[in-house]
């Protein structure tokens, strides 16, 4: 308690005796550090032991202690070699603690090799992609096997859970699927008619809407909507169960997570996606028809009879044949990503995003493959 006099002035550092004597004054604290920094930067400390006079020091915190030790570093001596005078006992304890914990040298930052890191990242991404593909294939196999066992009756189908998911995935999605496909149908009709009008072929708008919706848009739009709506929900549900160790509990109780969680969701999607796709086709054609009636002078009777004569039923079956495949992809990706969640809530979010991106990607890729397949078959 030598000199605890209050000093309201700015913190200061005076270098005397050619740099072997430092006189500290004022508060050496973090809020006042900006006033002190130019003083310590200008200080030239002589090599060898230094005498520090801290009698006029009014306050010291770890930032101030760090600055003092940095200044003393130029002397090339360890902290113990210096003599600190007039320091209050509390501040001395702080200074000693900081001195023992301070690294002698600032650790060098790891050097950056931008090009090499870029190559490593590309390689890593390719490797992850391959690993992900293999993982997905393995999971598809496991799902197929379990599904087969459920179908032949060697495992139980959880009816309650299946029906619950049917409601969530199917019934609850009807309004949004119907509205969106109706709007897209109207837009397709409108855009198509604008282009076809130049050739006097406005009436072909009917085929444009009906074929595109029966073959492609009905099922594709439904699948994309369900990937965003239900695939993400599957990942989030299973992921949060995983992060709360519920999946481990399921296993420890001798139950099978695939049978319990995946199969009901998969069956729900397998049943409901074709039904929703059917609604989507109807609504798309309805949207196109309404645009035709209101804007293109195609009467409802004309629309229906042309639909009947010119659009082959095979388009409908082509579209419908894709629905179960898309349903399988969405359910498998959504659940697999859920099972891959680790621990944290952040991981749940990351995998949910991945689930949506991957399932939409796969749905579109498979749609393209189907298109080529049916083209070769001339259907």
């Amino acid at each position: 308690m030598a000199a605890a006099m209050p000093n309201p002035g700015p913190p200061d550092l005076a270098v005397e005796a050619g740099g072997s004597h430092l006189r500290l004054s004022g508060p050496w604290t973090l809020p006042r550090l900006d006033a002190l920094l130019p003083r310590t930067a200008a200080a030239r400390v002589a090599p060898g032991p230094v005498v520090v006079d801290a009698a006029a020091l009014s306050a010291l915190d770890t930032a101030g202690a760090l600055l003092l030790l940095r200044t003393l570093r130029a002397s090339g001596q360890p902290f113990e070699a210096h003599r600190i005078e007039g320091l209050r006992e509390a501040d001395a304890a702080l200074l000693r603690l900081v001195a023992t914990r301070l690294e002698p040298e600032r650790p060098a930052r790891e050097p950056h090799f931008a090009f090499r890191e870029m190559l490593a990242r590309i390689g890593g991404a390719v490797w992850r992609f391959i690993a992900q593909g293999r993982e997905f294939l393995g999971f598809v196999g496991l799902t197929m096997a379990t599904l087969a066992q459920v179908l032949v009756g060697r495992r139980r189908l959880r009816w309650t859970s299946t029906v619950f998911h049917m409601e969530q995935v199917g019934l609850d999605a009807v309004p949004i699927v119907a509205l969106l496909t109706f709007l897209v149908g109207a837009v397709v009709a409108f855009v198509g008619a604008t282009a076809l009008r130049d050739f006097g072929a406005e009436v072909f708008t009917v085929e444009l809407v009906s074929i595109s919706f029966l073959r492609e848009f009905g099922v594709l739009l439904t699948a994309i909507l369900l990937a965003g709506r239900s695939g993400s929900a599957f990942t989030a549900q299973i992921g949060s169960m995983k992060s709360r160790e519920e999946l481990d509990a399921i296993q420890a109780l001798g139950l099978d997570a695939i049978e319990l969680l995946l199969i009901p969701r998969l069956i729900a999607l397998l049943v409901m996606l074709p039904l929703l796709a059917f609604i989507a086709m109807l609504m798309g054609i309805l949207g196109g028809g309404i645009v035709g009636v209101l804007a293109l002078d195609i009467t409802p009777g004309m629309f229906v009879s042309r639909l009947h004569e010119m659009t082959d039923i095979s388009h409908f079956w082509v579209g419908m044949s894709k629905a179960p495949v898309f349903a399988f992809l969405i359910a498998a990706v959504g659940c697999l990503e859920g099972f891959k969640v680790e621990g944290s809530a952040e991981s749940v979010g990351r995998h949910t995003t991945a689930s949506v991106v991957q399932s939409i990607f796969l749905v579109i890729v498979f749609d393209a493959v189907f298109a080529m397949f049916f083209m070769e078959l001339d259907i």
Binding site: T29, L30, P31, L33, D34, L37, D61, T62, A63, L66, L67, R70, A90, A93, L94, R96, L97, V98, R101, L102, E103, R106, P107, E110, S344, E346
Partner: protein, 268 residues
């Protein structure tokens, strides 16, 4: 003896209500400069709620809170800032920002309040990390790469970033193994002594009460029943306190304390 000491936190008649459930009904508590105050109470007694009310994270439904002599009960976020830089806060699991390294986490408050040169900031962050008892190479790791105990220490490093006067710790030893918990108690003691900190410690850990706390406040029935040294508190007749201190865990901790008291605590 406490009359002449400066109270840095004063809570008067604090009332907190959630729906129809009254958590606090007239809590009075004073925290004095330089002491380690342990707050205990059963689960749901409102320890964390009291801490959140003092910190301004929850607006109390009644009563007054004064920090450093100024009434902070109804301050807006902007007016609260000068107080916020005077206290540090350690959440239960560290609450580190997961997208930043430990060093970057420590630098967040430094950057927010002060404009320091980069190299000084780096070194200051590293110093806090070392003060919190972490090795220097932890500085460039992400929170997910650290164990639970290390995350708490990293959280402590961030809490210390601004050289706070008051340190709030929310169950710092929960989830740590007994050795890790004892080491953390030692660390808090060392830092408190050297840096002159005041510590507001919410805990369930009986060992921490005996080893670390200067005073213990017991929260039950919506009030602070007693706030005194642990020797006084453990003889209090309230049923919860009796159950707590006379129970197997309390007796074990007291016994442990009696056995190790003559010897110096293991430090590192």
């Amino acid at each position: 003896m406490s009359a002449d000491r400066e109270a840095v936190i004063e809570v008067e008649g604090l009332r907190n209500v959630f729906g129809r459930q009254v958590v606090h009904d007239g809590v009075d508590l004073r925290v004095f400069r330089g002491e380690v105050l342990g707050v205990i109470g059963g689960s749901g007694a409102g320890k964390s709620v009291m801490m959140r009310a003092i910190l301004g994270l929850k607006r109390p439904d009644g009563g007054r809170i004064r920090m450093f002599g100024a009434d902070t009960t109804h301050l807006e976020a902007e007016q609260r800032k000068p107080f916020e830089r005077r206290f540090g806060l350690l959440f239960q699991d560290g609450a580190l920002f997961s997208s930043l390294t430990v060093a970057e986490n420590v630098k967040v408050p430094l950057n927010e309040y002060y404009d320091l040169p980069d190299d000084l900031q780096d070194e200051l962050a590293l110093l806090k990390i070392r003060l919190a008892g972490l090795p220097a190479d932890a500085a460039h790791k992400y929170p997910s790469q650290l164990s639970g105990g290390m995350r708490k220490r990293a959280g402590l490093a961030r809490a210390l970033a601004l050289d706070p006067e008051i340190l709030f710790l929310d169950e710092p030893t929960s989830g740590l193994d007994p050795i890790g918990a004892a080491a953390f108690d030692d660390l808090i003691r060392t830092l408190t002594d050297a840096l002159g900190l005041t510590v507001f410690l919410v805990t369930h850990d009986m060992d921490s009460l005996y080893n670390l706390c200067d005073r213990v406040a017991v929260l039950a029935d919506g009030k602070v029943i007693v706030a005194d040294t642990v020797d006084v508190v453990e003889r209090h007749p309230h049923p919860w306190i009796r159950g707590c201190f006379q129970g197997p865990r309390g007796r074990g901790a007291a016994l442990q304390q009696a056995r190790t008291a003559p010897q110096p605590q293991g430090s590192h």
